[in-house]
Amino acid sequence: MTITATLRRSAAAIALLGALCAGAAEAKTLRWSYQGDATTMDPHGLNETFTLGVQSNIYEPLVGYDEKLQLTPLLAEKWENPEPNKWVFHLRRGVKFHNGSDFTADDVIFSWKRSLTEGSDMKGYGAKASEIRKVDDFTIEVLTKSPNPILPREWVFLYIMDEDWSKQNNTTEATNVKNANQGNYANLNANGTGPFMVAERQPDVRTVLKRNPSYWDKGIRTNVDEVVFTPITQPATRVAALLSGEMDVIQPVPVQDWDRLDQAPGVSPLTGAEARAIFIGMDQARDELLYSNVKGKNPFKDIRVREAVVRAVNLDAINKQIMRGAAVPLGSLIPPELNGYDKSFGEPYKPDPDKAKKLLAEAGYPNGFEVSLDCPNDRYVNDEKVCQAVAGMLARVGIKVNLLAQTKGKYFGKVLAQAGYDTSMYLLGWTAASIDAHNSMLNLASCRNKDTQAGLFNLGGYCNPKVDALTEKVGSETDQGKRNAMIKEAWEIVKADYGYLPLHAQPMSWGVRDGVKVVQRADDVLDLRSVVLP
């Protein structure tokens, strides 16, 4: 730890020296650290909020989020919904990509098609449109299969790439997260329209962004000229880097260190409720689990086993001991911040280990069974520790959990659809990008469907046709009252099916050097447009 700190310090010293020599001592540099790296620079490579959040400073969607998660025009100036199945976007004129080429309607159509290519993790968003028609260079019509009143909100993370650049560099297909960092040009290079450009990219080591001098929006607040992003996996090292003044912003601060940051001079914790549900899923699709000692059948297909798993885990204990009381225990995959949340399904299940044991015995596993749990160790707040605690609680009712905790790149490359859902049990976190429960219904609770890309992130393959029918209706219902009633019905079904083991809504937890002004968006994204350095 000391060695890396010293190295980093000398590297910083050398960088500083270089900056002085170049006469650029005025340049304002933001030093920023996260627990993992942005897994790829490819905007269609991984649908993960952190990676997309980093990319949002480089690439832009048609319509994006402002600081309060309200829609704000980016590459589209105006949009309208003239017919239920048709959206019209009027694109911004005079926008240039980082390499100087012009942004036009062709780029939008190309990017949409690219989001549907084999390796893409954004198929679920691309599949919202059945066709995009070019009216002229700066007007497009988007046709949807069914009425979609919230399309612009659903596309806030669908970024626009330059068609010519992608063709020149042979990257017209998305990087597959399963072989991240291999080959694909867009994985390591970027050419967007955003306020920052990639100046240097060393995966897992360091990424340097430089201000885009010809950014179309001159009104953004930031005074940052350069961003040095350094992933630091070790929580204590990350906190030490902030305390010693090596970093301006770190994410996340371990919840157990909040007090320490409060007391330390020159830094403070920045916390808030995040609209992200953390939960555990079980493979209910296969006839035999990939990683278990039970052969010939799949215990998770039995609702009694799923209930046993749910009853074995004490969410309050996890919240108190691992999350230090900063999380909100959940009864479903919908955190209270989302539109559609209701107490009827939001209340956590009551833990009952004795009943869990009984249920296991009834289901034919009086001595329990073994199963592997996939878990990231640098994605969510205290993710590996949460997995360890769940493993301990399941062990108490007889389910022996072999924990496989690894870095998020490897983890996602194993459990996601592109890798064929190679898991038997997994911990995942989900923020509905549209801040609406329908997004979670469609991605997490719908039966997996290759054609519509529904259930793309339903890694365990939970499937109930009733939920599917409701999801479809909710997707096109415009009456808010009816819509929320159907959302409620659907999540009550998922809850009664014990489809998932919901854990908690995690807190956002940043550490910020005093004087640095940042806006903490409720989806945990750091938008550099709003960062002001002293």
């Binding site: 204590a236 157990q256 520790k385 301990g392």
Partner: protein, 311 residues
């Protein structure tokens, strides 16, 4: 031949009887470190019997008992004398089980070092010539790398070559090999020198004349006479091996986290230093220091006691 052996054994026995024992008795520091080392080794060996909890049994963990301070601090629980970690694991039990793994790896890798180093040293010193030159040049090259670097290289290569599951189950062996292989040079150097001296002595010449093969001469005649210094190096090397293992485990490339050694425990606890749960990392650290210090002091004493020039 029988006479020579008897004489050798007699010499060692008298040494142990008189000089060693006397110098041991006369040094309170040595007695103290011997006691500490003995206590730690016994605690580690008998961990399943003396430890209050089994830290490897997930089902016995109670998360509601997590983050408890040591018993004398406010909020401590007598069931967990040195407190608990973030998962409710008893720190004392984890240390006892962890010391077991640290000592196991330490002893095993020292044995491996001795096996490689002493064999090469004997052959090198006895045969001489080109073989000697080759072995010693290899030793020179290895001496120019720090032992920890070689251990890291071996461990890294094994990680890359072996599939994940296999590596998990072989991790302990890989670690022993990595540490053992990085430490053979000192043994080879020392034994080579001693062998060169011994092989010119009359009892060796006598053995050669009556037609005993070189392998037997090395094993039965020279080996017992060069083992004195090896014993001293081995004791000090044990301390180094334990530290190397702790370093590797602290860096996360040592033993798998499911069977934590002292270094792994310090790594886990390191995450909580800022948040005030100092006991998770400090106690394993203290035990590691005590273990290494006592073994080192014993090694120092042994070196002085066996060195005729210092007597």
């Amino acid at each position: 031949m029988a006479e020579i052996q008897a004489e050798t054994r007699g010499r060692l026995a008298s040494l142990a009887d008189s000089d060693l024992w006397h110098s041991f008795k006369g040094s309170p520091v040595t007695i103290a470190s011997a006691l500490v080392a003995l206590l730690l080794v016994l605690g580690a060996l008998l961990a399943p019997v003396v430890a209050p909890h089994n830290p490897f049994d997930l089902a016995s963990l109670d998360i509601m008992a997590a983050n408890l301070p040591p018993v004398w601090a406010e909020g401590g629980d007598p069931a967990y004398p040195l407190g608990t970690d973030d998962q409710g694991r008893d720190v004392l039990s984890a240390i006892l089980y962890g010391a077991r793994i640290s000592l196991l790896v330490g002893f095993a890798s020292v044995l491996l070092s001795i096996l490689i180093g002493v064999s090469l040293g004997l052959v090198s010193g006895y045969v001489g010539g080109r073989l000697d030159a080759v072995i010693m040049r290899v030793a020179d090259v290895q001496l120019s790398f720090p032992a920890i670097l070689i251990a890291l290289l071996i461990d890294g290569a094994a990680r890359g070559l072996l599939p994940r599951d296999l590596h998990e189950s072989l991790a302990l062996y890989v670690l022993v090999f990595a540490i053992g292989f990085s430490g053979w040079v000192q043994y080879a150097r020392t034994v080579r020198g001693a062998t060169m001296v011994e092989s010119r002595k009359e009892y060796v010449q006598a053995a050669q004349i009556i037609g005993i093969g070189p392998a037997t001469i090395l094993r039965r005649h020279i080996l017992p006479n060069v083992m004195g210094p090896v014993l001293v190096i081995a004791t000090i090397h044990l301390a180094i091996a334990i530290i190397t293992e702790a370093t590797l485990s602290f860096l996360g490339v040592g033993v798998p986290p499911t069977s934590p050694s002292l270094g792994t425990l310090i790594r886990f606890g390191n995450e909580y230093l800022f948040s005030g749960q100092w006991w998770i990392s400090i106690f394993p650290g203290v035990v590691l220091v005590l273990l290494v210090l006592s073994v080192n002091l014993l090694g120092d004493w042994l070196r002085d006691a066996l060195n005729p020039r210092l007597r």
